[in-house]
């Protein structure tokens, strides 16, 4: 099987609202930046894949508008996933593994500001038993948090510490929406306080993938994808043990994450309590640097935040800050679907 690497990553500055620009206007600078890092032009890209959600935009086929930003004529090989762009990256990775293309552009974006993302996300729930009750994303995360508290796996001070560490680390991330520590605030849905929840915001991200020698041409230190897998939990929350994430553990096994220790992890944990679950599922010890970017608690552009985790992990490899990094992305309530990627840099290039 051929080796595939992430050779470039770019993201917007994530903001609470971007009402003055459309999706394609938000996306285009990111697309140009990520291509500029490799010297590739749109016509050089072998496969293009994106992730987004019509429910955030409130419009059907909203991704076709964003496609204007990639130069889709003459016709290109293109695909779209109606979920986080991390899954678009998975699709592109498979495409490159098959040899159908040597390079791929993956991008994702989310504008949460036009609507109410807590309400919007209820529409992804089971339509028979859950959606009619409108349980919002914070409520469902809070049920999981209380289950963790009851199980003795965390408590409110520990969750506050995760929030503080994330946002303190984000002070060094110029793209983050919340930069620097802040008060935990009141309960949104108890036991989760404002500080335990991600900011609502708009943003976009893009990566370029390349195979084999093409990757070495385009990047001094490619972030080689050593493995990637994604798994899902049973649909009904009441069937699951919310204090654990077997799907994350299985995806990590599939991606080869447990074969050797990682030095860096970018976890897509929009809520502090979810980091507790992920650390356990991924067996991450104290020596692993977790969410140095600040993670989703510092910027959570829905549908792009998972791709950003992979991009941040790749960027750490690119700049020599990591030799072996784990990236995780999630989608759905209470960590329902989970993707794990393992990225490595070649040691001699450091």
């Amino acid at each position: 099987m051929r080796d595939v690497a992430i050779v470039a990553f770019s993201q917007t500055d994530h903001v609470r609202g971007s009402e003055e620009i459309s999706e394609v206007e938000m996306l285009m600078p990111v697309l140009h930046d990520v291509l500029g890092r490799t010297g590739l032009r749109t016509g050089d890209i072998g496969f293009t894949c994106s992730g987004s959600s019509d429910y955030l935009a409130g419009r059907a086929f909203s991704f076709t508008m964003a496609l204007d930003g990639v130069g889709a004529w003459p016709p290109i090989a293109e695909s779209h996933v109606e979920t986080d762009g991390a899954w678009a990256l998975y699709e592109a990775w498979v495409e490159l593994l098959t040899g159908e293309a040597d390079t791929a552009l993956v991008y994702a974006w989310g504008k949460s500001s036009p609507g109410s993302v807590r309400d919007v996300l209820t529409r992804q729930l089971d339509p028979y038993y859950l959606a009619p009750l409108w349980p919002d994303s914070v409520a469902l995360a809070a049920l999981q948090a209380q289950a963790l508290v009851d199980a003795g796996e965390t408590d409110e001070p520990a969750l506050a510490a995760i929030a503080a560490r994330s946002r303190t680390d984000a002070a060094d991330n110029p793209h983050a929406q919340l930069r620097g520590a802040r008060a935990q605030g009141d309960y949104v849905v108890r036991p989760l306080r404002t500080g335990d929840c991600p900011p609502v915001g708009d943003g976009a991200a893009a990566v370029v993938l390349a195979a084999g020698d093409r990757a070495r041409e385009l990047c001094d230190r490619p972030a080689w994808i050593r493995g990637m897998d994604h798994r899902i939990e049973p649909h009904s929350l009441g069937v699951r043990d919310l204090t654990d994430s077997p799907s994350t553990r299985l995806a990590a096994e599939g991606a080869g994450a447990f074969e050797r220790p990682v030095d860096t992890a970018e976890l897509h944990a929009p809520f502090t309590s979810q980091e507790v679950v992920l650390r356990k599922a991924l067996r991450l010890g104290g020596s692993v640097r977790i969410n140095a970017s600040g993670g989703a608690l510092a910027a959570n552009p829905v549908m792009a935040a998972g791709l950003i985790r992979i991009g941040e992990a790749a960027a750490a490899v690119h700049r020599g800050a990591s030799d072996r990094a784990l990236a995780h992305a999630t989608s759905g309530p209470c960590l329902q679907q989970n993707l794990v990627a393992v990225l490595e840099g070649e040691p001699h290039a450091r």
């Binding site: 003055e20 394609v24 004529w73 009851d150 849905v189």
Partner: protein, 340 residues
Amino acid sequence: MTATPASRVPPAPEVLRAPLTVEFPFTRSLGPVQSAFLTGLRERTVLGVRTTGGRVLVPPVEYDPENAEELRELVEVGTAGTVTTWAWNPEPRRGQPLATPFAWVLVRLDGADTALLHALDAPGPDAVRTGMRVRVRWAAERAGAITDIACFERCEDRGQREPTPATSGTERRAAAEPRLHSGEFDDPVTGIVAPARLDYTYTPGRAQTRFINALAERRTTGERCPSCRKVYVPPRGACPTCGIATSEQVEVGPRGTVTTFCIVNIKAKNLDIDVPYVYAHIALDGAGLALHGRIGGIPYDQVRMGLRVEPVWTEDGRHPDHYRPTGEPDADYDTYKELL
């Protein structure tokens, strides 16, 4: 690439915004298990489904989440149960079960091995804890939907030892053994209508804002791609061929050429236009692609490719109501063949 004169790059416009509501009734059919469960709720009966491994799933599903085996063995479980986890919701949102502050709860009903998500009516968070006993409060009017359970409420059924979350399924079922149930009811519910409504504030972005603002002055503007020089009308801010931003404003029209058309014979709802009428692609002079518009002022069967037309605005219209013939000679095919 030619330099763009600075005077033709407009300042960033003020943000236009408008409310946008997306509302739809999602009509769904039910399989045999979901039908029995939701019909049961209408009759104040809670059904679960037993897996081949002996677990009782409530709410029931048609396939085992562990091994995908088909599940059809329905059982009746209790209408009281135990809270397995909870979360206090101080500010109920639209559509949620209770309008006053309440607890979200996962409840394992007596006889079940899995938990059902719903709301718990309680005076405050201090009155809620994991392991507490609760029972169903039925909605006064029930139609065969999950909302037939109005919510849960606290119950003091002291006759029964309060099970802890750690209590095994076997122990619990000894207290409340689920009974086999045929799942048959008179007048079964076979479908649900799940209404959904989401509210947005739509903002069109820079390019479309400039376009809409110009229309308010009865001008039609496009944007030129700095690379391929094509003029997009209406502009969306990017050249889809080159994948780069379009920012140079170009006024196009007002006259244009019909590049192709169709004759509409079906009257649209809420549209006061007599049929048949002609809907056409119109390449405004100076535009790099055609836009859509209705053709009026000429019998429908005399509209033709190459017909020269101009916009007709109504008093308060925000865009041309239709286009009518200018009386000029038809355009030569070669002048618009690239715009078909």
